[in-house]
């Protein structure tokens, strides 16, 4: 291979660093109305009365919208395949506000200063209601968060809003209780994970204008342009053909932009005033009024025999979806479906629980998407079992974990919101990843801990993980390749580059297949008028699903080119060989460049275009083993992360450096969740950690060393053997850290983040 699996510079890194206009706000019309939201100061309230007359009268204010002024049709903001597995429980503006920061009213003014003043002039009379701020008390709480009419589920997901339940799910294989009863050893632990913030550097941003076709043209920092367009159309009762959605460069998403943010408001403002408008979230709004990870309580019970054979897994989970149910069921299901199959040889497995509403910030999609929460629980309790069995934790995993060629009944049962797809692990290098990772971290010399000073120890901990590559039978991607005069190509894809490099790797796949160089393939993505359909950047679908679409389109184009060349050379198709630059048949030759020019100017003129689509029939999981070495102060319990080793099986790495970047970015984001990032609410439900000053994401000084390697692996069903790699990096750090801490000082922390104070309190309790 010449391009794929070779070090290849990204197609856009240089231009962005050199300062070219690239991000959503860079494309706002210069005289855009500034759109700002009045947000609820209460965690749960009903708007009894709202008076916007003074605000509307303020010079410079163009329009003010309240729940009286907007269409009343429920929808979900979640960017997912239609019909969505998330409940339609949101109105553009509602008489109820359900979290501190929820939308009350919308103002559009000539500048920010006037908009801010106008917000202060809106008078609201609230009936303050008792908020539900503890997700463990939400079920059947007397405060019903969604009492309103007109909300519904798109298909059965266990939606019981009167009980504050957004979704619920249960599955089992075999008889867990019977098998547990026969086990020699049973361990059970309960784990709590927190509502992590995405903290992407670019705040949510969107802007709208009417073009000269009188169509609504929107730029948005989004992961799912096609879903946004559809949801806007359905809810505003605006024909979808009247809307164009363009996603420019996105400054990070991680799932936080896999749902609508300001698009409704700029749409309504622009449609009604006929003027361009823009809305950029402040950082406080990003924290308080966008989305978080679903906090969960997960109880894991393992039953095993003395010899270390794990025979049953029982997992019960409670998930907090906050004020609205975006991604409620699907994240919940992934907590089971992309975690429990790691130990596939059990006789029985059970997974279930519910997702409840609370008056917290709405939880939504977030890299890992349930797998990181489930992984923390399972990979922690495995170490607890290992200790009880007096086994090395690596040995226990080797004995029970998924191997290549095997399967798990869970794949068939659990999809994303619906039933799943049976599949064998055609590629699974977990054993290699584990062994190699142990070698790289120096496991045998360091496990469980080594004393390095009077009050300093170093210890190691680890975890294994799996994720997926798109959603089979649901995620569709398409690609169009157009030949130009002079013989270069345009590649248009719906696939959504949010900084993970999909524009680059898709170009590589096309260039490889067409046997040409990167500079001859010009990619344009995510414009609903100009690019073919793609579900968007989520579920780790881009490399596998969108990549396969590009591969098919490129193959198709190659076939067309050879046919054209045969025509020009007056030979049969079988006689033509193509090397990317020229077509040769016996002693006849024509260059691609010449042929393209003929095709457009001189002879048998017609446009060559190839469009192909791809839907996966399986979702081959990437796998990894993560190992961490920490140094802990045994007096204060502060600890430093010395080294994190990742050995990943993601099939072929289309772009090895960018793949490494995906893993390392995920590891550090996972370490943030494991060690530093705390979401803190006041007792009235206001988010105290609503700023980078109080919500601490890792800095360059916080982790000493990362070592990342990829296993040799070739997934036949993937483009050039690739599986996806976008999420797998984030899953292992919480359990790896919990295990390292337990190995260091014999204290197990089951609640994230694992702070020195928690370890200190744990140590005190033991005394």
């Amino acid at each position: 291979m010449k391009t794929v699996n070779h070090k290849t510079p990204s197609v856009d890194g240089k231009g962005i660093m050199m300062g070219r206009a690239a991000f959503t706000d860079d494309f706002a019309e210069p005289n855009s109305l500034i759109v700002k939201m009045l947000r609820s100061p209460h965690a749960f309230a009903r708007i009894k009365n709202i008076d916007t007359s003074k605000a509307r009268a303020l010079p410079g204010v163009e329009i003010v919208l309240t729940h009286h002024d907007v269409p009343r049709k429920s929808f979900t903001r979640a960017g997912q395949g239609y019909p969505e597995p998330s409940p339609h429980d949101k109105f553009i503006l509602d008489e109820y506000v359900r979290y501190v920061g929820d939308e009350v009213a919308c103002v559009a003014a000539i500048n920010e200063s006037v908009a801010d003043q106008a917000l202060k002039l809106i008078e609201v009379e609230y009936e303050v209601l008792e908020p539900v701020l503890d997700f463990e008390k939400a079920f059947e709480h007397q405060s019903v968060i969604h009492p309103e009419e007109g909300i519904c589920e798109m298909f059965p997901i266990g939606f019981e809003p009167k009980k504050n339940v957004a979704a619920s799910y249960h599955m089992h294989v075999g008889d867990v209780d019977a098998v547990m009863a026969k086990c020699d050893v049973v361990v059970e632990e309960t784990y709590y994970t927190q509502a992590q913030a995405h903290a992407m550097l670019e705040p949510h941003s969107t802007n709208a204008r009417l073009d000269y076709h009188n169509r609504l043209v929107i730029y948005s920092s989004t992961q799912t342009p096609y879903h946004v367009r559809r949801i806007l159309s359905q809810t505003l009762d605006l024909p979808i053909s009247k809307i164009r959605l363009i996603k420019p460069r996105v400054g990070g998403g991680f799932g936080g932009k896999q749902a609508l943010h300001g698009e409704f408001f700029v749409s309504l403002v622009t449609l009604r005033t006929k003027k361009p408008s823009k809305m950029v979230y402040s950082r406080q709004e990003v924290f308080e009024s966008s989305y978080t990870r679903h906090p969960m309580r997960i109880t894991m019970r393992l039953g095993a025999m003395k010899d270390g054979t794990i025979r049953a897994i029982d997992c019960y989970s409670l998930s907090d979806t906050g004020a609205y149910g975006e991604h409620a069921l699907t994240v919940f299901m992934i907590t089971g479906s992309k975690v429990l199959p790691l130990y596939n040889k059990v006789d029985a497995v059970r997974f279930g629980g519910r997702v409840v509403y609370t008056n917290h910030v709405s939880a939504g999609a977030y890299r890992g998407y349930g797998a990181i929460q489930g992984n923390f629980a399972l990979e922690s309790v495995i170490d607890v079992l290992a200790k009880k069995l007096n086994m090395d934790p690596l040995e226990l995993r080797r004995k029970n974990m998924m191997e290549e060629g095997e399967t798990s009944p869970i794949f068939e049962i659990m999809g994303e919101g619906t039933e799943g797809t049976a599949m064998n692990m055609d590629t699974c290098k977990l054993r290699y990843c584990l062994d190699r990772g142990a070698e790289l971290i120096g496991w045998k010399d360091k496990y469980p801990f080594v004393r390095v000073g009077p009050h300093k120890v170093r210890s190691v901990g680890m975890a294994i993980a799996m994720q997926g590559s798109g959603i089979p039978y649901i995620d569709m991607a398409a690609a169009t390749i157009k030949l130009n005069d002079d013989g270069f190509y345009n590649l248009t894809v719906g696939a959504t580059d949010i900084g993970q490099g999909s524009d680059t790797i898709l170009t590589q796949i096309a260039a490889e297949t067409l046997m040409t160089t990167m500079d001859k393939v010009v990619i344009y993505s995510s414009d609903t008028d100009l690019t073919p359909f793609d579900v968007g950047a989520y579920a780790s679908s881009t490399t596998y699903v969108s990549g396969n679409a590009v591969l098919k389109a490129a193959k198709s184009m190659k076939t067309m080119l050879i046919e054209e060349a045969a025509h020009y050379l007056k030979v049969s198709v079988d006689e033509v060989t193509f090397d990317g630059e020229k077509f040769v048949a016996k002693d006849k030759i024509i260059t691609l460049s010449d042929m393209a020019n003929k095709l457009y100017y001189n002879e048998n003129q017609h446009q060559l275009t190839a469009t192909e689509s791809y839907v996966g029939h399986k979702s081959p999981p990437p796998f990894m083993a993560g190992f961490v070495e920490i140094e802990m102060d045994t007096e204060t319990y502060e600890y430093k992360i010395l080294h994190y080793v990742s050995v990943v099986d993601c099939g072929t790495t289309i772009n090895p450096m960018l793949a490494r970047g995906q893993v390392e970015g995920g590891i550090v984001q996972g370490l943030g969740m494991a060690c530093f990032e705390e979401v803190k609410y006041s007792n009235r439900g206001k988010l105290n950690s609503n700023s980078f000053l109080y919500y601490k994401i890792p800095t360059m000084l916080d982790i000493d060393k990362l070592t990342t390697e990829f296993a040799e692996s070739y997934e036949e069903s993937g483009p050039y053997g690739a599986k996806s790699v976008g999420e797998i990096g984030i899953d292992t750090p919480p359990a790896a850290i919990a295990n390292a801490v337990a190995n260091a000082v014999n204290i197990r922390i089951n609640k994230l983040p694992i702070t020195p104070e928690k370890i200190f309190q744990g140590a005190n309790q033991e005394k």
Partner: protein, 150 residues
């Protein structure tokens, strides 16, 4: 009020409000490379150089730039071109939102401490938060950039 200063090598006079911040003034005057990510001195994305020193433009009053020189990446295209090659080489380029502020910080680092040790590099750029890269690739890119300049 008006403020008179040197922007990317050219003399400019901008109309500003007394309480206006440099990040907003620059973006309003088409310097789109300046990014606002947190608007409260906490993330470094808005970094620009004032008299050659990295400062946080979201918290720097535009009025204070009177008589000074301001540099954004538009003025140091050759150097940024080079820095981006080193970033590309390590796969450190992801979403790019932190990159323009970071490029200016790296440029200032190279001028201030051309022989910076690994530790000194990390300390100098620690104020530029990144959520995508995990930092290691960025660190290696910066290290190699400095080495190439010795």
């Amino acid at each position: 009020m008006r403020v008179n200063f040197v922007l990317n090598g050219r003399n400019v006079i901008f109309d500003i409000a007394p309480g206006e911040y440099l990040a907003d003034t620059l973006r309003a005057n088409h310097i789109l490379s300046v990014k606002k990510a947190c608007d409260e001195s906490a993330c470094g994305a808005c970094t620009v150089l004032v008299d050659g020193r990295p400062i946080l433009s979201c918290s720097y009053l535009s009025a204070r730039v009177e008589g000074r020189s301001v540099t954004t990446v538009e003025a140091i295209q050759d150097e940024v071109n080079q820095i981006s090659d080193f970033f590309s080489d390590e796969g450190a380029d992801q979403c790019g939102f932190c990159n323009t502020g970071l490029a200016l910080t790296i440029y200032a680092l190279q001028k201030e401490m051309p022989n910076a040790s690994d530790d000194e590099i990390r300390h100098f750029v620690a104020g530029n938060l990144c959520r995508c890269s995990g930092y290691q690739a960025q660190f290696l890119a910066i290290k190699h950039y400095l080495e190439a300049h010795r």
